[in-house]
């Protein structure tokens, strides 16, 4: 019974996600445009060799960063659904349905996860076809996208359960992913010292994911490094999962 309910609500969440064109515009079209413009401008203004083994290194660098920023904010979908379904207008109606709240939350999270992973893959395909970006090992990239997506969903649920205001939570979510990008060295060059070089490589989920993707291909040096980054991402996802379960039991049901 529970399983059936799960699939029904999963399916409907997925339908709901696929109907909004704005999400796709923000999370897929926008990063593609940004990557296009930035790599176009930087390629015009550089003296160094841009193409290595047929791949454009400038757009590779920007694409990896942009994909991760938008993946880390992908949980905003879930944030809005949780707000709409379990806090604000639909709360009593959905609580009156024979579907338990945790089934709804699980199916919503799963549907958002599938959808944001698809978005991430679309960005990867788009940038590698249009911009000659290099993404290393495809399977590793997909795995990293899944992990980052899971972290993003959990992070957004945690923010939402603590803050209870969807607008503020959304702002903080965007701010966090851009702050991680800043610490990852994407926006401007960071000072060259031990703290910042650690943050750039392993300090945040953003930099862990970035390092994992880079290490999976010829841009990196060791596969051990990649495994360490992936293990750390798994660890973060695990910690957040425990936190979400504890918080959810207390505040949502």
């Amino acid at each position: 019974m529970t399983r059936n309910l799960f699939w029904v609500s999963f399916f409907h969440y997925l339908r709901r996600l696929s109907r909004g064109y704005l999400g796709i515009l923000i999370f897929v079209a926008l990063p593609l445009v940004i990557v296009w413009v930035l790599s176009f401008v930087y390629s015009q203004n550089t003296e160094e060799q841009i193409y290595v083994f047929g791949y454009n290194m400038i757009s590779t660098n920007i694409s990896i960063g942009m994909m991760l920023i938008f993946q880390l904010s992908g949980g905003i979908y879930l944030l809005n659904y949780l707000n709409h379904d379990l806090i604000k207008p639909m709360k009593w109606r959905l609580k009156a349905s024979p579907c338990a709240t945790y089934t709804l939350v699980f199916s919503g999270t799963a549907a958002c996860l599938v959808f944001t992973v698809l978005q991430g893959i679309l960005i990867v395909v788009g940038t590698s076809l249009l911009q000659d970006a290099y993404w290393g090992n495809v399977w590793i990239v997909i795995f990293v996208i899944v992990l980052v997506s899971i972290i993003s969903q959990f992070l957004n649920i945690t923010l939402f359960l603590y803050i209870r205001n969807v607008n503020t939570a959304e702002y903080i979510s965007w701010f966090l992913s851009w702050a991680m990008a800043v610490l990852g060295g994407l926006i401007f060059t960071l000072p060259d010292n031990a703290f910042f070089s650690f943050m750039k490589q392993y300090g945040t989920p953003f930099s862990l994911a970035q390092s994992a993707i880079r290490e999976s291909g010829f841009l990196g040096t060791s596969s051990t490094n990649m495994l360490v980054c992936i293990a750390a991402l798994l660890g973060i996802a695990g910690i957040l999962a425990v936190l979400v379960i504890k918080l959810g039991r207390r505040k949502l049901i």
Partner: protein
């Protein structure tokens, strides 16, 4: 000036505004690498903070319109002009005070000098007017907060991209620069170029004038539409 007073108090009570207005600028003003004269990114990031602050402040006019509060306000002897003027003045005052505090701290930390400080305050304040007017015009086009927010986040990214926030405008290719000229952020960047190049006087005043004209145009469009 009752509306002014209440708009002022109401804006200060919102936590998100307070964070945007005071915590963020204070956080970035102490990052030394952003404020070197060769890099100069910090000056533009601060411009984006003003833009966000303006958008979140003008939100209360939109909330008034959506919840029907505005209809009740107009039942009192209040003209549209008074309502808008006093609200926008309150918002502008908040941003203006914050800009002055910010520039004073910056001057104390990095020795900007009096002429540069005055010029910075002037361009940020005119930009604040342009941002407020832009947000007013923007919000008048939408009936739902979610739609307005979502599309605004796309537009602001494009503005940042073409307005020299990510890449200096001198590096933009010609056709992208022409598109960028349609946004006030481009002219803020252009006016701030005097920091690196002292001979930029004419361009500085031209940028201020254009931001001013932008403000007038947006204000006309934003206030023309009936508020209810």
């Amino acid at each position: 000036m009752t509306i002014f007073l209440f708009a002022f108090i109401r804006s200060l009570r919102r936590k998100s505004t307070l964070v945007a207005m005071f915590v963020l600028p204070l956080a970035i003003v102490f990052i030394r690498t952003l404020w070197t004269l060769e890099n100069g990114r910090g000056f533009l990031f601060y411009g984006m903070i003003i833009m966000f602050a303006a958008f979140s402040l003008v939100r209360s006019i939109m909330i008034d319109r959506m919840t029907g509060t505005v209809v009740r306000i107009f039942a009192a002897p209040v003209a549209t002009f008074q309502y808008l003027f006093q609200n926008l003045l309150a918002f502008w005052l908040i941003i203006g005070v914050q800009t002055i505090v910010f520039v004073v701290i910056g001057s104390a930390l990095y020795g900007w000098g009096i002429e540069m400080a005055v010029r910075l305050i002037l361009s940020y304040n005119i930009f604040a007017v342009a941002s407020l007017a832009f947000s007013l015009a923007w919000n008048s086009m939408f009936r739902s907060k979610v739609m307005s927010d979502a599309i605004f986040s796309i537009i602001i990214s494009l503005m940042a991209l073409l307005g020299g926030i990510f890449i200096p405008i001198s590096m933009l290719p010609d056709f992208l620069r022409k598109i960028g000229m349609l946004f006030p952020t481009y002219w803020l960047s252009n006016s701030l170029l005097f920091i690196q190049d002292k001979e930029w006087n004419g361009q500085y005043w031209l940028s201020i004038l254009i931001m001013f004209l932008f403000s007038a145009a947006f204000l006309l469009y934003g206030s023309k539409r009936r508020l209810e």
